[in-house]
Structure formats: structure tokens, C-alpha cells
């Protein structure tokens, strides 16, 4: 089980690779913690990351409050200045932080008016562990 701790819902490819989204109420709390609207200090960053890591443990995916499955891995992503502290908070709880790796596939299509439309598709290609 790879718990999704990013702001975005997992793509179909990520779901197929074992990623699980948090339940909606927990995901709302996660987005709240990941959204920083004023200049943070180190203490604030650590407090937010501790909360996110705790949220990963109490993820609401169990049958009841006391029975949440402990994730072995978590997919993270977001502001670079937040990731180091989040990696640490997760590692302290026995959760391996992972970053999604994707490749960009470009296709070109000639439109009826002769213009060329370029479409970039990001395809999930695995995870980078820390």
C-alpha cells in the first residue's frame, strides 16, 4: 500500500500501481496542511509535517478508528521546502517516502485548418524512493 499524501488524487496508472487516496475528510485535512499562505518558519513546517505523518497513520482506511492499516510507503510531493521535514516525519513512523516519476509523451496532430496541435501526456513510470 502506497498512501497518496499529495494534493492531487492518484491517476489511474498510480492507482494500478498500488497508490491509495485518503478518504475525502482526511484528504481535505491533508490539503489544509499542505497549503501554506504565509511565510513559514521551521517550527511551523515541522508541526505541519508531523500532522501529515500522523494523518498517514490515522488514515481512516480501517474498519473503525482503531483499525487503520499502517502504510509502509507514502507518495509525497509539493513545496520543496516542506519535503525534507515530511520525509523525516514519515521515516520516524516507519513509512518510506516515495516520489512519483513520470515521463512526458508528446504527440502532434494536424488540425483541419492546417495548424499543428501538440499534446503532452505525463505517464506514470514508477517511484523514486529516498
Amino acid at each position: 500500500m502506497i498512501l497518496n499524501l499529495t494534493q492531487h488524487q492518484a491517476t489511474a496508472e498510480q492507482l494500478a500501481a498500488g497508490v491509495i487516496d485518503l478518504p475525502e475528510d482526511k484528504r481535505t485535512a491533508l490539503i489544509d496542511a499542505l497549503t501554506v499562505t504565509s511565510l513559514p518558519d521551521r517550527e511551523s513546517i515541522e508541526a505541519r509535517c508531523d500532522y501529515i505523518a500522523e494523518l498517514a497513520c490515522q488514515n481512516g482506511l480501517g474498519g473503525d478508528d482503531e483499525d487503520d492499516p499502517h502504510p509502509k510507503m507514502a507518495m509525497i510531493g509539493g513545496a520543496p521546502w516542506l519535503m525534507s521535514a515530511l520525509e523525516q516525519a514519515l521515516t520516524e513512523r516507519g513509512i518510506t517516502p516515495l516520489y512519483a516519476f513520470s515521463v512526458r509523451e508528446s504527440t502532434e496532430r494536424t488540425m483541419p485548418d492546417g495548424t499543428v496541435q501538440k499534446i503532452n501526456v505525463f505517464r506514470h513510470a514508477g517511484f523514486v524512493g529516498i
Binding site: 496542511a33 511551523s44 515541522e46 505541519r48 508531523d50 478508528d65
Partner: protein, 172 residues
């Protein structure tokens, strides 16, 4: 009888004299302490955040009390004689009458010694820093209790009655 009180946790934060740094482990330890000790609690929130507890109220003072014995004086209260106090007794021992007594005192707040506490919520001041807010929210998540927003002037008497009143003001 069980009466609801505030217990501040910000005082546990300082790892060294003058240090403002507050590792979350310190807060967690404080919560562990709360679970077993006879606490000094107050009828108003003191500090940035803390816990709301319900417990066996032994005595209420109109002055500052401490959860632990002071190393210098060997006391748990700021004054030697406890002239103004209220002991829960008989039919008068309900939460409303306790907080009524507090409201009638000349001091800005009252404190009580409370045993066998149960944590019913985590409270956080509206103007707390971002770090304190997330520490409080994290603690609430760990303890599986609601997080309640309070102001400096909030008194615990506000929540006299049912626990549902607390949940109605839950933040997270």
C-alpha cells in the same frame, strides 16, 4: 465529582530557559502526564493551546496553582494560606455551581486541583501561531478528540452541559 477544566500545555514547551522551540515530542509527553497526574487546571485558557479535561475536582482556588511541587518552596500554590477556596460538596457539587463560584471571584481566573482526568478536547487560541495551531491539531488527531477554538476570554463554563456543545465548535 467530575467538572470540566482547561489545562494549558504551552508551559511544557520550553526545552531550555528562554527557548521558544517546541518539539512535538514534548507536547506528546505532556499529554501523557495529563492522563495520570493530579493537575492544576483553570477556568480560562492559559497559553496558546492545551487540553480540556474532565476529572475529580478536589478544590478550587482564586489563584495560581501548579501541577507539580515547586522545587524551591515545596508548594503547589502561589500563596501559603488558601483563604478563598471552594470544595465541591453534596448537592452544590455540580459543574454550573463550580463555575459560578469562579465567576464571582475578584481574580481574573481560578484554578483547581483535579484528579483522574479524562481529556475531552484539545483547545487552541484563535491568535495562536501557525506552529502552535498545527501542534494542537496534531495532538487532537493523536488523542482522537475534537480541536476547539477559544479566545482569551473564553471560560470553561461555556461548555456546561453536554459534550455535543464542544463538537459543535470543532475545527478539525
Amino acid at each position: 465529582m467530575d467538572i470540566r477544566w482547561f489545562h494549558g500545555l504551552a508551559a511544557y514547551n520550553k526545552t531550555a530557559k528562554g527557548s521558544k522551540y517546541c518539539p512535538i515530542e514534548t507536547v506528546q509527553r505532556a499529554a501523557t502526564i495529563v492522563a495520570g497526574a493530579e493537575l492544576a487546571c483553570s477556568d480560562k485558557p492559559i497559553g496558546a493551546f492545551g487540553v480540556m479535561v474532565e476529572g475529580d475536582t478536589r478544590v478550587i482556588f482564586e489563584r495560581d496553582c501548579w501541577s507539580f511541587v515547586d522545587g524551591k518552596t515545596g508548594k503547589r500554590c502561589t500563596e501559603a494560606s488558601h483563604l478563598d477556596y471552594w470544595v465541591p460538596d453534596g448537592l452544590e457539587s455540580d459543574e454550573q455551581s463550580a463555575h459560578q463560584w469562579c465567576a464571582e471571584q475578584k481574580q481574573s481566573y481560578c484554578e483547581a486541583f483535579v484528579k483522574d482526568c479524562t481529556i475531552t478536547a484539545v483547545w487552541c487560541k484563535r491568535d495562536a501561531s501557525d506552529a502552535r495551531y498545527w501542534q494542537a491539531r496534531s495532538l487532537a488527531l493523536k488523542l482522537r478528540v475534537p480541536l476547539v477554538e477559544v479566545s482569551r476570554s473564553t471560560t470553561i463554563g461555556k461548555w456546561c452541559g453536554t459534550v455535543e456543545n464542544i463538537f459543535s465548535e470543532e475545527l478539525a
